[in-house]
């Protein structure tokens, strides 16, 4: 049952890895997100070095997202114009992220930053989503239906220069906005080993005001290319991509995601978002606890390998 992971240089149970991939894949199919934000911490919990977890998870997300992106493309659910602006930002952000990652690794602080990033981002996103879905559920109980308000409100964000028309999303907004969103998500992809769907999807809905029908397809389109960039750069500069690990997770993940997607069609949107919010908050709390709790041993081996 053991398989030796050649780049990680450790031996792991391949059934466990397939199972992890499948479980996280199920959840990601259910919620329509990549699942990297769950997989990377889980890999670290089972003893994969954080740097390898982040690099290999990026490769897994490439594979996990490509079929989804193709499916949405076939169904004409991708706003390519928006996708390319997000992607330009994403390439920029992730390239910087990989350099920062290498520096942090040298300084022995990469684990801390990964954990802090998870706690802050997941804590914030989880709280917002939970509040939103509770509000939606309450509203529904009051009126009996989910009403949609105005498509989006006009704020100072809409006064930014470089305005661009996005016909598919029926938007006329500054190109800087999706660029910055893409760059931020790209940075997180490199540092945290995530696709960033869990942050990009809300940002596209609430910040950019895109119609929900094209949000998932467009974010998957961006995620495939940004995580491909992260995979390439992490493998090239940090040698932290273990393809045996990535492929095992991928195979489990693809199968799990198919079941998740079918299950998701039977559940209601607000409930799904509520569940997802709880999950995100759970991961954040566990990581926060690990940061605050007194470690078993204040001393650890790190940085330079022993050979």
């Amino acid at each position: 049952m053991q398989i030796y992971l050649p780049v990680a240089e450790l031996s792991a149970n391949w059934l466990l890895l397939l199972g992890l991939g499948g479980g996280v894949g199920l959840l990601s199919g259910l919620f329509g997100v990549g699942g990297g934000f769950l997989m990377t911490p889980l890999l670290i919990f089972i003893g994969v070095p954080p740097a390898i977890a982040v690099g290999s998870e990026a490769a897994q997300i490439v594979g996990a997202s490509v079929s989804g992106a193709l499916a949405h493309w076939r169904r004409n659910n991708v706003d390519f114009r928006m996708g390319f602006v997000l992607l330009a930002g994403g390439i920029f952000g992730s390239t910087i992220g990989v350099q920062v990652f290498a520096l942090l690794r040298k300084a022995g602080q990469v684990e801390l930053i990964i954990a802090l990033a998870y706690v802050v981002i997941l804590g914030a996103i989880g709280s917002l989503m939970l509040a939103e879905s509770v509000r939606a559920m309450r509203r529904q109980r009051l009126t009996g239906t989910t009403r949609r308000g105005k498509l989006h409100q006009h704020t100072w964000l809409h006064g930014l220069p470089l305005k661009m028309r996005f016909p598919k999303s029926k938007l006329y907004i500054s190109a800087l906005l999706p660029f910055v969103v893409g760059a931020f998500v790209g940075l997180l992809a490199a540092l945290m080993g995530v696709g960033g769907g869990f942050i990009m999807v809300p940002a596209m809905i609430y910040l950019l005001g895109m119609p929900t029908s094209v949000v998932v397809g467009t974010s998957l389109f961006q995620i495939v290319f940004v995580t491909a960039n992260v995979t390439f750069l992490q493998a090239w500069q940090n040698q932290t991509v273990d393809m045996v690990l990535a492929v095992l997770l991928l195979v489990g993940g693809v199968v799990g995601a198919q079941f998740g997607a079918r299950l998701g069609q039977k559940l209601r949107g607000e409930q799904l978002r509520g569940l997802m919010a709880l999950l995100v908050l759970g991961v954040a709390l566990k990581l926060a606890f690990d940061l605050v709790a007194t470690p078993q041993d204040a001393f650890s081996l790190g940085g330079g390998r022993a050979h």
Binding site: Q2, I3, Y4, P6, V7, E9, L10, S11, A59, Q60, V62, G63, A64, S65, V66, S67, L70, G108, Q109, L112, L116, V224, A228, T231, F232, L233, Q234, A235, W236, Q237, Q239, V241, M243, V244, A246, V247, L250, V251, V254, V255, Q258, L291, V292, A293, T294, P295, D297, A298, F299, S300, L301, G302, G303, G304, R305, A306, H307
Partner: protein, 247 residues
């Protein structure tokens, strides 16, 4: 390893002992001088066996390739535990095992144990110059604990057992995360606080098969490996979902 093979090795060894008995107080050998890390590798054990001429205690020390090791210390900053201090030791064996026929503190003298790195307290780890003794002690203990947690060093010596007055054997266990490289296996015969015989056997841990090739590719041709990784991920993701859709 099969019992028959072990028996054959022991027999061969015995014959060798009889021939050289007068010349050598200690003869020992390993059941294998090479450990191959294959795709299914999950740790292994080697048998070390030998014969002594005359009474004494037998101590076995196994050391993996030495290199630098950075030990970091966390302390609480604003409620969070952060790495705030580090010491880089040089010449630290990546792997360490000791086995003995008697408790280590009853074998030889402290000076001898220090010289031959017998016991985790004696394993070499050169600190940077100017490290204060207290700091050195703290970080060295931290190093030992970290290595023990990883299962790469042992502080409870393995048992060297005698079969009859002359023949001895012990097993050396290697965990799945065993580092690759050239290992040094030393066997000492100690009597009345003095080392009266010693033998060294080299050993190698290496990756073989597809795993070794992937590792080499990832490190020697990192950019090509990155490109391949992306293509494999794309192909595997597409193929897996295509296969699933058809079924």
């Amino acid at each position: 390893m099969s019992a028959a093979r072990a028996a054959a090795l022991l027999l061969a060894l015995l014959l060798a002992c009889m021939r050289d008995a007068a010349a050598q107080p200690l003869v020992a050998d390993l059941s294998s001088h090479e450990i191959s890390i294959t795709t299914g590798f999950s740790g292994t054990e080697l048998l070390l066996f030998g014969a002594t001429e005359g009474e004494g205690d037998v101590v076995v020390v196994v050391r993996g390739p030495a290199g630098p090791a950075t030990v970091r210390r966390k302390s609480r900053v604003l409620g969070i535990w952060i790495n705030t201090d580090s010491v880089r030791f040089e010449g630290v064996p990546s792997f360490y095992r000791v086995a003995s026929s008697r408790p280590l503190d009853q074998v030889g003298t402290p000076g001898m144990r220090q010289r031959h790195q017998i016991g985790v307290g004696a394993v070499s780890a050169r600190p940077p110059e100017g490290t204060s003794p207290e700091r050195l002690a703290e970080f060295r203990d931290g190093l030992v604990r970290a290595k023990l947690r990883e299962g790469l060093w042992n502080d409870v010596p393995g048992q060297v057992s005698f079969m009859g007055p002359k023949l001895f054997r012990t097993t050396i266990s290697f965990p799945p995360n065993v580092p690759t490289g050239i290992y040094n296996v030393e066997v000492f015969l100690v009597k009345d606080g003095r080392e009266i015989g010693a033998q060294t056997a080299p050993m190698r841990v290496k990756k073989t098969g597809i795993g070794a090739r992937i590792y080499d590719f990832a490190h020697r041709h990192a950019a090509a490996h990155g490109l391949a990784a992306v293509l494999i991920a794309l192909a595997a993701g597409w193929a897996a979902s295509a296969a699933f859709r058809r079924s």
